[in-house]
């Protein structure tokens, strides 16, 4: 008697719980994977472990306190998070920001983008399986930028340096030299990463063609930032709706072609070169002057109304929707999180990939859970 070759095995799906405390989830993020063999069939994300009620808290804080609180919602790019908030307050209170303050804001935001992307490069290297080296390289480059921030604002993560109307105080006298010094090492750092990861055959084999998402789907899911640009959509708030002085400097919007994990990595790397380009132009045009308006009211009061301000943070569109009924605090504040919207596409990108690649996909959208949960 010969066994039938078409014998059908009964298979059973397996549930794997990843997180919330797991190095590869980049924070307190939990997802439940349904797997068939090694292939992911379903992903259910669970978030909220870091929910602090930032929006509700900000309803009870005045504008000065609120801008400092925004740091806590996006601790890897706190300057960018503050920027949206203070711009919303300035729009409602009718404040005109002096030129010098705008240039300095722009330099610091781009430097913050560099430090945040270095963090991504290091952590993503670990996700791929390149232990140690890129993470320490990234940490070294990020450290130089963080040191500069510390010299300027006195803090390494929660800067509270942007204030409605301008800046908290002027930058140190050797600001330009220090930024040029940091850029020198940053440029070398970007080159190192390009050689270490982009040209690494194993790295490319691991990342190319994994977790692909088409441009239409990326738009439909509400993605933004480098994650959508990797799919070939040139969506960049700095270009679409230039704020600060982005219209006055020369830079390119980086887009990918395939929308896979490699493109999302490579877009960020190329974007860092553009950031360096922007900062160099800003330094040339930075002139001395005032950093807060001459007629700055002691007690800031906003006009009744509402405003939606969006800026391009390292992870995408960081928006502040502020409703004011007059007075010195918002009636309602909504933080539009880029990571939350990018996270919505996680399921579509991970299904039918291997379990190990699901971790890569999660790493490639570069989530920060403090921003997702707020």
């Amino acid at each position: 008697m010969v066994a039938s070759p078409q014998h059908e095995f009964e298979t059973q799906d397996l549930l794997i719980n990843v997180g919330p405390q797991h190095p590869s989830t980049h924070g307190v993020f939990r997802m439940v994977l349904t797997i068939d063999g090694e292939v992911v069939k379903d992903v259910v994300p669970y978030i909220g472990y870091l929910h602090r009620g930032a929006e509700k808290l900000c309803e009870t804080m005045d504008f000065r306190q609120g801008s400092g609180f925004m740091d806590r919602t996006e601790y890897l790019a706190a300057h960018n998070a503050e920027l949206s908030y203070v711009m919303a307050v300035e729009a409602l209170a009718g404040l005109e920001v002096p030129e010098r303050a705008q240039w300095i804001r722009m330099i610091l935001c781009e430097l913050n983008r560099l430090s945040s992307h270095f963090m991504f490069l290091g952590a993503f290297g670990i996700d791929v399986g390149v232990f140690g080296t890129p993470f320490i390289y990234a940490w070294r480059e990020r450290e130089a930028i963080i040191d500069l921030f510390e010299e300027i604002s006195g803090d390494r993560m929660m800067y509270a340096y942007f204030r409605p109307g301008g800046l908290a105080w002027d930058v140190p006298l050797n600001f330009k030299e220090r930024v040029r010094e940091v850029l020198k090492s940053t440029r070398q750092g970007i080159k190192d990463f390009d050689e270490l990861l982009t040209q690494n055959e194993i790295f490319r084999a691991r990342t190319e063609g994994v977790g692909t998402i088409s441009a239409e789907d990326a738009i439909d899911w509400g993605m933004s930032g480098p994650s959508i640009r990797a799919s070939g959509v040139p969506l960049d708030v700095r270009r679409e709706e230039p704020y600060l002085k982005y219209a006055d400097v020369d830079w390119d919007v980086i887009t990918g072609e395939n929308g896979d994990v490699f493109d999302r990595y490579y877009c960020r790397l190329l974007e860092m070169r553009e950031s360096v380009k922007i900062i160099e132009q800003c330094l040339e045009r930075l002139e001395s002057g005032i950093i807060v308006p001459d007629k700055m009211p002691r007690m800031l009061r906003a006009a009744p109304g509402e405003v939606y301000i969006r800026t391009e943070a390292p992870r995408g569109e960081y928006g502040i929707y502020m409703v004011s009924k007059g007075g010195n605090r918002p009636y309602r504040l909504k933080v539009r999180s880029a990571c939350l919207s990018n996270l919505q596409a996680l399921r579509q990108m991970s299904v039918d990939q291997y379990v190990a690649d699901a971790i890569l996909v999660l790493g490639s959208i570069d989530i920060v859970l403090s921003e997702v949960d707020r």
């Binding site: 929006e55 509400g222 709706e241 605090r329």
Partner: protein, 203 residues
Amino acid sequence: MPAGPHQLLGHRVADALEAALPGAVIGRHVEWIEVRSDRVRDVLRWLHDSESFDAAQLSNLTSVDRHTHFEVVYHLQSLDLNHQIVVKAIVEDHENPLLPSVYPVYKGALLQEREVYDLMGIRFDGHPDLRRLFLWEGYPAFPLRKDFLSLGQITGKAVNPGLQRFPFEDKESPDRMLNAGNIVTGEREASAGNAGGSAGAGH
């Protein structure tokens, strides 16, 4: 507030919508349009499919508690035409707010609608998976509502004292804050300074 540089004027959107979907628009402003909550999915689908508006992406979805009613705010953007459209759905029923989900039009509403449900308690009809997002199932309140008390006041049980100190607006006179003693702001410092200067008593 003047509209942003790339924000479409509400009147222009309202006029086009009035012709296509009569009766859906109930209010027009410079920056936004107000639509009936039961028609919001039709409105967004029309804006999404229309060539002249091309609202391809739902950028932001949020809600505002106005004491008597809710506003659900949709920020739409066109990537090709580079403009933004703001649509507000007015939900009249403050006790049991319900409006159609826009997930069939924009997939990006999936978690954002869950967030609104979680924090504001607005239910979305037709949402595939309407559960709490940040808070846990069974949490007895919706914290972003203006009449949110605190867990202790709702359940009558002793809870973490930090949760009992939330200031909130008085429904009768919205300018007044109940529990306002727990807010530390520059305004109170300034007024305390004035009071101390003039009367010198009470502290």
